[in-house]
């Protein structure tokens, strides 16, 4: 299904928060041969029981448009929109990053974390856990820089996204 020009698209999906809705969305995506890079989900309106799912999927514009049409076919899906950063969206992600090192490497990781405005949320004499917020690209860059400095483990939330300006989904 995936075209040569593999862009990443961020799709926001508003769904009725009912049993099995996540399974329906994931089942449709895998059943129709689309791929997912990341997926986040949480209820965003407790009164109306509406959840927001954010999917990052690789593929051409056409492929992702088809995926959006298929998602909108699902009965509990209210709306699906492509909110990719390049278009009109803002994307944020959080990561917890564990560095195990001593000496010069340890100092360097600490210095770089300040450049990225990462927070130290746990430390021992030979480890840090950084909390970092930002665009997925910023997190990618930080992780790359940490690789030679004792990068041990990464946990990422996956992307959440929202449209810019007054526009509402």
């Amino acid at each position: 299904m995936i075209n040569q020009e593999e862009l990443k698209h961020t799709v926001s999906v508003l769904v009725d928060n009912e049993p099995g809705v996540l399974a329906r969305v994931i089942g449709l995506i895998s059943g129709r041969g689309y791929n997912i890079d990341s997926l986040t989900v949480a209820e965003v309106d407790a009164e109306k029981h509406i959840s927001r799912i954010t999917i990052v999927a690789p593929g051409s514009e056409e492929t992702v448009n088809k995926m959006i049409s298929q998602l909108e076919r699902l009965v509990p899906v209210k709306k699906a929109v492509n909110v990719t950063y390049e278009k009109r969206g803002i994307e944020r992600e959080m990561a917890l990053i564990k560095i195990v090192s001593t000496g010069e490497k340890r100092v360097e990781s600490m210095r770089l974390s300040e450049v990225f405005r990462a927070k130290v949320i746990d430390t021992t004499h030979d480890s840090f856990v950084f909390e970092l917020n930002g665009s997925p690209r910023k997190i990618d860059a930080f992780i790359d820089l940490m690789k030679p400095l004792g990068l041990s483990e990464v946990s990422r939330t996956g992307v959440v996204a929202i449209a810019r300006g007054t526009e509402k989904m």
Partner: protein, 589 residues
Amino acid sequence: MVNMQLTGAQMVLKAFEDQQVDTIFGYPGGAVLPIYDELAKDKDSNKPIRHFLVRHEQGAAHAAEGYARSSGKVGVLLVTSGPGVTNAVTGLTDAMMDSIPLVCISGQVPTHLIGTDAFQECDAVGITRPCTKHNWLVKDINDLSRILHEAFYVASNGRPGPVLVDIPKDIQFQTGTYIGPDTVKHKSYRPKLKANIDKIDEALQLIVNAEKPIFYTGGGVINSGNAAVQLLREFVRLTGFPITSTLQGLGAFPGDDNQFVGMLGMHGTYEANMAMNKCDLMINIGARFDDRITGKIDEFSPNSKKIHVDIDPSSINKVISVDVGLAGDVAHVLEDAIKLWKSKVYKVNKSSVKDWWKQIDKWRKTDSLHFEEDNDTIKPQYAIQRLYELTKDSDAFITTEVGQHQMWAAQHYKFNKPNRWITSGSLGTMGFGLPAAIGAQVAHPDKLVIDIAGEASILMCMQEMSTALQHKLPVKVFIINNQYMGMVRQWQELLHDKRYSHSYTDALPDFVKLAEAYGAKGIRVEKPKDLDQSIKEMIKYDGPVIFDCVVDQNENVFPMIPSGKAHNEMLLGNETQKEEISDEGKALL
């Protein structure tokens, strides 16, 4: 009336009544006994629900499909947990793929046993999630009536499809508040019926300017209902354009009308496929560019503008990119289109269309459905033609199994009305025809219902003969018997150097004796000269008949677009096959 206290099992029957359901197909079992108990009590009510006991839950699903397809109503089936549900899965998938509205009520083990691998437990909503339009597991008695009404709403609105409501046994026993359908509104599902009027006008402009146009219509017209069928006929006659139809759309436009150029696709007529290939405007109404229709995608109708009307927005631009996509219900879109056409006094390009018809008439002369008749052996096409001639005035309902006989029936039986042709198109389910015929007969007790079958397919749901006898449903099973899984054999002949791997059926039953064993009538015919007389005998017999029509074993379905080929590369007969089919083509279905 509103807010009455009922048990879960009573709610199911009350919801049936409120949804105007008077007919269900089903099979009892441990987890649905409370509902069956209510059915027993309901027998003495002034409008009892008719329950048709099938012999296998697959049969219940196909019978409900036959009932729905032939009547335009929602088909309802009732099955037990575990194997009851898994047996129904084939029928649910079939209904999903062919957009047939079904409501399947399944029993489930009691709530406290769910997830413990209890006896006859299965994850019914998990198993049926991809093969239903939507499904529900009811966990609270006070949700049950709302869910039941939503189920009927979802099944029949938008693109129709099957839904499943899984009800644990303890919920069936519990008492709760029943609410009527009027107070239930689905919170989010609102399919769009009307298309954008400017887009419709854009489509009409293309129609006005077309020189080589063709209507390509599908099952969506039939699903949209009788109004859609009448509007389609009006619009097609208004334009004078040729019209072709998919397998599922047959009957929407009269099959014996001169504007109808026959079915298109893999086994469609030469003129229909050539017209699709060479047209400059394709008007797709309620069809979905299925792979049996398009053949090779890159060479599909290369020089045409395309209009696509479909109630399912995800069908538009899914396989083939179109110039004007109209997401909406066929009847609503056609109504707006005709109004606009008349108010703007649009005219078609008559002289160009006349030349186009000349070209089509030339293609027609190929007579692509021609076959050589034989005095000694019955040609399968001849059998269908005789069946058509002898039944065409009795407004018969025809169902089929899947394979060669199905294609011959589609080619040689002419349908002039919608809902008369009931076949498993997308899923291609062997075993569909007999239970579907039972469903159609239930919906139309006084009509002639014939399952055109193959001897291999019929054995897949043969047990439903017993259902037909028990419920006095005089369905006729017309078996085109060539002792082969004919379509498999045809592909082996064309693609696998005639290595007929396991496509020959040895040890077939004696169908006449089998009919008699069930208490039905059996007829066997082997010679063309006896055919008419025997068909008349079958029609006249007041009860189920199995008609064993012994035909030529070597006949193939032509024309045929081989795998991986384009519309203009059809095979017209055995002798026309010159070039090898590529490995890429062989890998396709």
